[in-house]
């Protein structure tokens, strides 16, 4: 259990947990790991996903409507950990469900569920003192988001306070699929490198095998979210794990190399 991108191409796969249902999320995560995902981001659905485009908004709405709770996501996290001891697992959430659960209780529960790290979209590094203490006390890697608009001083703070990897946002804006990779992306990754030796994963808009190949030329890993969630949206639940596995394999370009 560790965050490790030593095999190429490095790949992080995002799921909105509970869409279409928790059991299918678990099976899809296992399929993604078996076909080349290095890290799984398990997204806790939220009523107001500010940083997300329409695809993940719809998935969150479906999962919230089904009553998916943070506590349920922790349960499948633990099951995935038990089934795949080597995989990297990050819990992804907006702040509010975590605060309602209780930050300290959450940190302990996340550790207990076998998560490697936590990414809270609206937890900003400037306000993170308490959060960071709890992450450190429980051996969890805090992952922060870095945007192309962030000045160097902020990138430095983000890089220095992240563990596991730094999540670089490929463009200004929200999540969603796109046809072409933003030109901002490479410059941002180079700017972050000045401040850290951590791996850098690039996400937002990374949608196709071509994108993944282009991203790992300059970043350590690609994060694919909306493209996976869109695939799940149009696939019947019972076929989704197989479809996700195949898509992840195609994102890796067939095989991963050491």
């Amino acid at each position: 259990m560790a965050i490790n991108f030593s095999k190429k191409p490095g790949l992080v796969i995002y799921f909105t947990a509970g869409d279409p249902d928790l059991e299918t999320t678990r099976e899809m995560a296992l399929a993604a790991i078996d076909h080349g995902a290095d890290v799984i981001e398990l997204g806790v659905p939220f009523s107001d996903p500010l940083a997300d485009g329409p695809v993940i908004q719809r998935a969150s709405e479906r999962a919230v409507a089904k009553g998916t709770r943070l506590a349920d996501v922790l349960v499948i996290c633990k099951e995935i950990r038990a089934a795949r001891p080597e995989a990297g697992i990050i819990l992804f959430s907006y702040l509010n469900p975590v605060m309602r659960f209780g930050m300290e209780a959450f940190a302990k529960a996340a550790k207990d569920a076998g998560a490697d790290g936590v990414l809270l979209t609206d937890m900003i590094v400037e306000e993170a003192e308490e959060y960071l203490k709890l992450m450190h006390a429980n051996g969890l890697a805090p992952v922060f988001l870095a945007a192309p608009t962030s000045p160097d001083a902020r990138l430095k703070a983000i890089a220095e306070n992240s563990q596991g990897f730094v999540y670089a946002i490929s463009r200004v804006g929200i999540t969603g699929t796109q046809t072409e990779l933003a030109s901002d992306a490479k410059g941002l990754v180079e700017r972050i490198r000045k401040f850290t030796k951590l791996p850098i994963a690039l996400g937002f808009g990374v949608s196709t095998p071509e994108h993944v190949r282009a991203v790992v030329e300059f970043a350590d890993a690609a994060v694919v979210g909306s493209a996976i969630v869109a695939l799940i949206e149009k696939t019947p639940a019972e076929e989704a794990p197989r479809a996700v596995g195949e898509f992840v394999r195609s994102l890796c370009g067939g095989v991963k190399t050491a």
């Binding site: 009523s47 702040l95 200004v172 804006g173």
Partner: protein, 331 residues
């Protein structure tokens, strides 16, 4: 009464829109976006954009577009594009989500004129500072007319901008009681009101839209739907400075129901000849409850945050005035 309803465009919102558009111009931004609930902030923003020749896009929940139809037309007449939002409960919270998504996507060219004292820093303090003129004027005028400070100030609280503006200059004056009035809606069940500070059935501290404050939510941390007859008070969270004033006890917060606000609208219209906005009518309702308990020599100022023209459609549906004669002059 502090008559913010007399401002151009009909509510206190223009104080803030003017301030922020000056900042946008200074920053060289050519495109302006805004969210709106009741439509007053949208109209104020569309107005300042017309004045300065700026592109203007206003996000508005589709439910609010329906119930504040007149303001939708006013915004369009002023040259703004109104974009309907149908996610969530299609009200103010959802419009803010969509405006924030637009903002982060177009931040290099676009300035977001946020309409209340909420959102991420520096909006809560910036909006408060632009609305602070309300209490500056109150203080000067009451000293001129009465030679002393008021005993009570009452204001309605949606996101909290007119209330924080009405309270701010009086915060150090411990003898001036500050009362914020939230939307009590149809009752205290979750989803039926927007009374974030209600002791039973109210919000709990959380983070929504970049603000740490009281948030109406379920026990899984999902933000709750809200209801109010007034679109401008129909919001699940509240400006963070009000949360602080609530916790410190410096201000107190109460609520008025839909029915009380409607009745207050009627009373103010018929006793003073002023038709208030339904938002402001919540403050009037509290004033009507409070006044009989106060001595004749006491001074209460009610902030009339806006005028009620925009609400005539709702009032036509909610109030039956047929055969309702209130004044007869005997021969």
């Amino acid at each position: 009464m502090k008559r913010e309803d007399l401002l151009h465009t009909g509510a206190h919102k223009i104080n803030n829109a003017l301030g922020q558009v000056m900042l946008a111009r200074r920053m060289g931004k050519k495109r302006i976006i805004a969210e709106t609930g009741a439509g007053q902030h949208g109209v104020a923003t569309a107005t300042v954009c017309a004045l300065f020749g700026l592109e203007c896009v206003v996000y508005m929940g589709e439910e609010d577009m329906r119930r504040q139809e007149l303001n939708v037309f006013r915004m369009r007449l002023l040259g703004a594009e109104v974009r309907g939002v149908n996610s969530g409960s299609a009200t103010l919270k959802d419009a803010i989500n969509e405006a924030m998504r637009d903002w982060v996507t177009n931040v290099r060219t676009t300035f977001y004129i946020l309409g209340s004292a909420l959102g991420s820093h520096p909006y809560p303090t910036m909006v408060r500072d632009f609305q602070r003129v309300i209490s500056k004027e109150m203080k000067r005028q009451i000293l001129e007319h009465e030679g002393r400070l008021p005993d009570v100030i009452v204001a309605c609280v949606g996101g909290g901008s007119n209330a924080i503006g009405a309270f701010y200059e009086f915060l150090p004056e411990a003898n001036v009681a500050l009362i914020g009035v939230e939307a009590g809606g149809r009752g205290m069940a979750l989803g039926e009101h927007a009374a974030r500070f209600a002791p039973n059935g109210g919000g709990v501290p959380g983070v929504l839209q970049g603000t740490y404050s009281y948030v109406l939510q379920n026990d899984a941390g999902q933000v709750a739907a809200t209801h109010s007859v007034s679109a401008g008070l129909d919001y699940a969270s509240v400006g963070p400075e009000h949360a602080m004033l609530h916790d410190s006890g410096r201000a107190t917060y109460t609520s008025a129901t839909d029915d009380e606000a409607l009745e207050a609208t009627k009373v103010l219209s018929r006793t003073e000849g002023i038709i208030p906005a339904l938002e402001s009518a919540h403050a009037i309702a509290e004033a009507i409850k409070l006044a009989p308990k106060m001595g004749k020599d006491k001074i209460m100022i009610v902030n009339v945050s806006g005028r009620g023209d925009k609400d005539i459609g709702i009032l036509t549906r909610e109030l039956d005035l047929s055969g309702d004669v209130t004044r007869k002059v005997s021969a």
